[in-house]
């Protein structure tokens, strides 16, 4: 535990000193929220009982933030550390692998929470979007499970990316199209059924919709979208199983 905290401390130092990771992980989701809520915010969403679209965008962009911190950022930085030989070097120290992994996943979780808090605050101040108090338990569980899901997939993906140069392209190449068809940028009412059908296979859609269940005043009791949680849990298990097979300490290129 002491080692995990130690690891978190230095991971955070690294994170805040890297302008690129701060911009893409923290600033960009806020910029997206302002842009999309600014353009479409006053529309209403028929499928959610005429819910205001600005309310729709807060959980959607939160899902995007969780993916940036937990999946894209995590996978890119693991690949970079691996290809530089830092992971191999760490492997020769007494640091247990599970402490390293817990430290990385903990960093991703802390950043996800931070980005979520920032987005909720901006939503509240700029667009009057309220978090229904009764839905807090469900929202937190969805958020934690979503972070675990994307972090495990981030670990799994890092193992198959061959070089540090390829990492941003591969991760964004996976997340951007999925975000497009999963209702992150365009409300799901405007998406064709075929694309939505594809989106429903993947966890992006279910994290966004699961969080929306919490934000929707007419959402399920306690904010628990059980169907979405089940899909996220399945992907988490798959991610962990894949990660235990693909994760590697030594550089692929050398």
């Amino acid at each position: 535990m002491r080692l995990v905290v130690h690891q978190l401390r230095f991971e955070f130092k690294r994170f805040w000193r890297d302008p690129q990771s701060v911009f893409f992980t923290v600033a960009l989701p806020i910029v997206f929220l302002v842009i999309f809520a600014g353009i479409f915010g006053n529309d209403t969403l028929e499928s959610r009982g005429d819910l205001k679209v600005s309310t729709y965008y807060v959980p959607g962009i939160v899902a995007l933030g969780v993916m940036s911190a937990g999946f894209v950022g995590l996978a890119i930085s693991i690949v970079e550390q691996r290809e530089r030989g830092i992971l191999k070097r760490l492997r020769s120290t007494p640091l247990p692998p599970r402490a390293y992994i817990a430290g990385r996943a903990g960093t991703a979780a802390a950043l996800s929470l931070l980005v979520t808090a920032a987005l909720v605050l901006v939503g509240r101040l700029a667009y009057g979007v309220r978090v229904p108090g009764a839905a807090l338990p469900g929202l937190l569980v969805t958020l934690v499970l979503g972070t675990a899901c994307f972090a495990s997939l981030g670990f799994a993906l890092s193992g198959v990316i061959r070089s540090a140069n390829a990492a941003p392209a591969v991760t964004n190449g996976i997340t951007l199209p999925l975000q497009m068809i999963s209702g992150i940028f365009f409300p799901i009412d405007q998406l064709p059924a075929g694309l939505l059908g594809i989106a429903k296979v993947f966890p992006v859609y279910h994290l966004a919709q699961g969080l929306l269940d919490g934000f929707d005043p007419a959402g399920p009791a306690g904010g628990f979208g059980w169907g979405h949680l089940a899909v996220l849990a399945a992907w988490t298990v798959a991610g962990l199983a894949l990660a235990s097979r693909t994760f590697r300490w030594e550089p692929r290129t050398s």
């Binding site: 230095f10 120290t93 007494p94």
Partner: protein, 295 residues
């Protein structure tokens, strides 16, 4: 402190169909600097990575600090320090922070300030790692290997790519490790590095150990014959024992004084000038090339 820190018997490692290491024996004693010398591709890094616990061997017995590295525990990892051939530390942390991060992994680390002094980076502690020169980054690598206060350090080609003055600096640093009571296992393809640093040297070529000994005695250098060389006088019949190699007259002899006496007598009598006359013992470089080539 007596006995072997590292002992290796019949170590073999095959990758696919080819054998990188073909049955080597090694013994490294406590407190010595042991150089593992050989050309690129001879099997040095494969061997050292087996000793460090990174790779599994195909056959043979290996004990490092009394433990089989394939069954490495956290306690064992705390007793070794590793400098890999290539590693780039995170350039965003400072030198001090990087040492602090690694210190946190060990049960009884050395002091960060003391270590900064030992690696000659006392004035660079608050600089970002990214602003260090190549030689300074290598010193930091050594510092990170040292920070856990290990008994044994592995240095894999610590000065490859250095300019001569950075190499001298690195040698002083490695020599200092001996004074700290550490055992050092060093791989290198530089002859002069082994000569300058090592108490004992093993030469590896094509996966086999071809010589072991102190730098002074390596490959029978202590007993090797002296070489007397000169430019042969045109048209002259040479005295017995003198041969022509690459256009030079060469005489190999264990007793250079009487041989020279006889040679100069011959030259004076017949009126030959012994142009470019030289007397030499084989250098370590000669021995090394002899040992590692043509196998």
């Amino acid at each position: 402190m007596t006995g072997a820190v590292i002992s290796v018997h019949g170590l073999r490692k095959a990758y696919g169909g080819s054998e990188a290491v073909r049955g080597i024996d090694l013994e490294v004693r406590a407190g010595e600097i042991f150089a593992f010398l050989g050309p690129n591709g001879a099997g040095k890094t494969t061997t050292v990575e087996i000793l460090e616990g990174y790779r599994k061997r195909s056959a043979g017995e290996v004990r490092v600090l009394g433990v089989d590295p394939e069954r490495a525990t956290r306690d064992w990892r705390a007793r070794i320090g590793v400098v890999l051939q290539t590693v780039e530390q995170d350039e965003l942390l400072t030198v001090r922070e990087t040492l602090e991060e690694y210190a946190g992994y060990y049960p009884a680390p050395r002091g960060v300030d003391r270590t900064l002094g030992d690696i000659g980076l006392a004035d660079q502690g608050d600089q970002r790692v990214g602003s260090l020169s190549g030689g300074q980054q290598r010193r930091l690598d050594v510092g990170l290997a040292l920070i856990g206060d290990p008994e044994l350090l592995f240095l894999d080609e610590p000065t490859t790519g250095f300019d001569p003055s950075a190499r001298r600096g690195a040698w002083a640093l490695v020599g200092g490790l001996r004074d700290l009571g550490k055992t050092v296992f060093l791989t290198t393809h530089y002859m002069d590095e082994a000569q300058a640093l090592a108490d004992r040297v093993a030469v590896i070529a094509h996966g086999e150990i071809v010589a072991t000994g102190t730098p002074a005695q390596l490959g029978g250098r202590g007993e090797a014959p002296s070489l007397i060389r000169f430019t042969p006088p045109p048209g002259a019949a040479l005295p017995p024992g003198v041969e022509i190699e690459d256009g030079r007259a060469v005489l190999r002899t264990p007793e250079p004084v009487p041989a020279l006496h006889a040679l100069t007598a011959w030259a004076l009598e017949d009126g030959h000038a012994l142009r470019d006359l030289e007397v030499a013992r084989p250098t370590l470089e000669d021995i090394y090339l002899q040992l590692t080539e043509g196998r």
